[in-house]
Symmetry: D2
Subunit: 328 residues, 4 copies
């Protein structure tokens, strides 16, 4: 049994996903692939064995050989495409964000609830990263006691030229927002963003988040950290802490120093997380039970990021009240 996957978007993420399914995922194959750039669609589709390539995403969704859809097209297209998958009754794994606004996310949540079954998974791949999984297992094992603080650091080498300050939240910190909710099993109810008062240091920013169950979260987002792609996390509990270890396979001693290298961006750092996410999703296609982030999680992440953006703009804390969950 092999599930036919339809991939929408053959940019960096879409092409990576297609190659991962083709090369490294059991029980699935790339059935169809679309991209608005026909040449790119043909190239990636050819490389990954897609039977059909097109410039129209809806052709992929409708293709009878497509059992499930993976959306990796530009953010602005996500909501409409996810709704189309729901209309077609096909499971869909949507790269984050689920939609560009919390409001649009809620429409998806409602549409899925109306169907009465889970079809949507949002691509918060960190939930499958072995280090975060081990962190959660350490917490759940109980010896550390209740969680109290989660410290997060999210650093990129450099920001693209079109980067705006708010994107440090919507593109970067949103991963920490999701992983914090998942780790802590708590909801974020208040957000405050602190930035330096000097123009020079508009980046990094600090986010301080409060949860309904008590644990605090702080996040440094530094999109132009230059030295490397670096994601850190420490979960502080009553009787101990658990931290992400640096992802190091070998240590070098050379030229006066012992060192290990950072990835240049998130792709090598989370390559295994992406593979495990896809493998888990494919397992879920058989069972109808998905381990990844739900549409509701996608809504929450977007809504909380929106609150952080308001705090960034105003400099004041913002209280957060999420819409009720129609599933609960």
């Amino acid at each position: 049994m092999s599930f036919g996957i339809g991939i929408i978007g053959a940019g960096v993420m879409g092409a990576d996903h297609a190659r991962t399914i083709f090369r490294d995922v059991a029980g699935a194959h790339v059935a169809a692939l679309s991209d608005i750039d026909a040449a790119r669609a043909a190239a990636v589709g050819g490389e990954t064995g897609a039977r059909r390539v097109d410039t129209d995403a809806h052709v992929v969704i409708a293709d009878p050989g497509v059992d499930a859809v993976l959306i990796a097209s530009p953010d602005a297209t996500h909501a409409e495409l996810v709704l189309a998958c729901l209309a077609a009754g096909k499971p869909v794994l949507c790269e984050k964000p689920l939609a560009a606004t919390a409001e649009a996310c809620l429409r998806i949540v409602a549409a899925e609830a109306a169907l009465g079954r889970t079809l949507v998974q949002v691509g918060f791949m960190r939930r499958f990263d072995p280090a975060y999984v081990e962190m959660k297992a350490a917490l759940d094992a109980g010896a550390l006691g209740a969680p109290l603080v989660l410290h997060c650091v999210h650093r990129n080498v450099s920001a693209p030229v079109w980067f705006e300050a708010m994107m440090a939240i919507t593109n970067a910190a949103v991963h920490e927002i999701d992983i914090a909710r998942w780790l802590l099993g708590a909801e974020i109810v208040r957000a405050q963003v602190v930035r330096s008062r000097t123009a020079r240091a508009a980046d990094p920013i600090l986010l301080v988040l409060e949860t309904d169950r008590g644990p605090l979260i702080d996040i440094e987002v530094f999109v132009s950290a230059q030295y490397g792609y670096d994601v850190r996390g420490e979960l502080v509990c009553e009787r101990g802490t658990v931290s992400l270890a640096p992802p190091v396979a070998t240590d070098l001693r050379h030229a006066g120093a012992q060192s290990f290298r950072f990835a240049a961006d998130w792709r090598p750092r989370f390559a295994d997380a992406y593979r495990l996410e896809l493998q888990s999703w494919v397992r879920g296609l058989a069972t109808g039970r998905y381990e990844g982030a739900s549409a509701r999680d996608g809504y929450a992440a977007t809504a909380i990021a929106e609150a952080c953006v308001r705090s960034l703009d105003t400099g004041a804390p913002v209280d957060i009240r999420l819409a009720d969950d129609p599933q609960s």
Copy 2:
């Protein structure tokens, strides 16, 4: 040439200092020692070769064999004793805090300024810790660029029963406040303390401090962290970061794990810093130039801690305006 040191207070810190001077510091000896507990004074004085012991601190200050005074008596006595040393024209190393209130600190600053020469050093020993010294050297070397954020963690095993929430600031975070000012060469101008909204997690607290030059500071203070005494720091700069490495001499592989142990409290962790602080101070006695924290630094730390306590009480940010420095 050996300087005669008069030590006031033979509790944990005073006794440690007396032993360090006796055993490990060149160019000085314990000349006299006082403690309100006569037996304790006699015991520590006998062990460290003090010629004179007394229950009256002023006897020590006045002793002609005492070239300089080290104050390690209870906090409430510091201000009065430092002023007595100034009145006697004797150099004095005062354990932190310099005085119980910013206002009292300012009186000392003024008294010293009136004398026209530096006699006061405040015992912020971290400035002599080799790891912090190396961190500052890394910053000053310039390759990392300007500092942007200083992350601090300060964890104790447990708080004494008489511990109040504000003491997490005045006893613990005050060390980070001083080291941040020293590292960054910037003044702290705004403070905010965030605590969990659940009673259970009154500890730890998070401090977010802003400086006049731009860098942000965040500090986790966790006085009942249970697992060990743990002080961490990472200085984030434009082109890289420098972190305190864990103070590890050996790694153990045993019983399923590789591990190293934490100190139970600050004394082993900062034993070398204390020794180097005292050795530096003794060198300063000969030259009149001291490398440690000044009376002004002692005032600033206390004043900023007071602002943090106000923020802890109110939950709101507090702007800080330090008194003008009479020396500058």
Copy 3:
């Protein structure tokens, strides 16, 4: 396109391989499976989707749905089964050792050479371990200069009751022998085993190996190290060294120490290496080019291990002269 894999042996390794192919390898499926224990064959075969299960390995080899064979049966059966695969013209991945003796290995090498094409891969999975791959890449990058010494440590928690001293070489050190040859691109020409002169310390033993190109190799094998399964390696070169970093995902701070845990045995440590080995082999089935250890490598590892066993018995160094390679 999905290759049908026939698995011989449903013990620990065979079952693990079957599950990995079923769950985590793209482009292949478990077609048939045999074990002398019919119940075990049925259980593992059922779990992994095998169409056919049997107690006779030759039924698996002959099955027309079996495109390639994976041998994970007891060591003593390897040679005969590999020769049967060659006779059937089917690619075969044989768990180490290729055969119980160097002489038997040579018969396989000769049989494969007579066929004129590569069909045999030996399961030295460390060649696919990301850390060893990164070590080799660091060497090949050239900045470190020529290799001079390879230090290896191989520790198991405890030896099974049927363990004999020589098995520390044939079961454990043989992995280091293979990886050293692969890393260094050199042949081992002399071996010496040093053991303690006290009965108590028959374990660990030290192996010192010399190569034709100059680099030295030392290996500690400690089969009852108790604290955990631990494999270390450092490659010392002219201008620097590269070491395997401990495989750590998270660090724990708890109960007075910072720690990370060791695996209990080799399976979690090399789980990813096994998966990558199988995925690489499946790719090789399509191209006829295999990245793993060849039959010749399997012969060399066994012959060198035999020399080490002689040195263990005699206490003297043993010169090694491998048979000529019929392929070269």
Copy 4:
């Protein structure tokens, strides 16, 4: 009370020792100093407060203000000067080696035994290095069980032009020989040196040592390791191991990597060991009990190094039989 120290030799080590006593050691002062280079003697003596400087070592030994002598002159002069100190009845700390040959060491051992009291300490400073001290404490604590293997690595950046192969043993490995005897409480009874068979890799060499109590020792000596001064050690015991952690105060993240730097030579690496060695020796001057290496230890290290040199020359193992200890 302050002991007057007479220092013989104002080269790198002598000057370092003089400065350490002057700046950082309690209870002692530099009383007199000699060097065959009068200008150097005057410079270092002036800097460190010596009352008397001379070009004649015997003037220092005879000086009535000299309570104890520290010998840091060229190796060839050690034996004669130590004997002169014994003749004068003055305690002496002699830099390693105690004498150029085992035979000459034995004459010192005999001369001291004839006096009936301990006057000689040999400058194997690693016994005072906090990491080695912690390693020994871990062993002595008992939880690890009996020691089985000690792995050592000794790497220098580069060898001076006058360096001969045997000096890798007599100048470098001799430190590991002493520390192994001290850690293990065992005597080395057999030595074998393995070197590469290619001219290119005459350096590094491997030493394999066997002890009377069973533990094995291996030592890599690499005098031109280029990347930094690096001393490693791991003590493998029945139930676990203890390793020297790299001496790291801060970690740098910069330019694509996380790193810490190595010292360029042994002086910064063992600066604290030298200070603690001197402080311990000065305490010993008061009590007559010395914690450092004895004359007997100095003899043993030299005799074992001589055996290693013979093995280096012949390529064969060398059995070692030390002279009986007159003290025991």
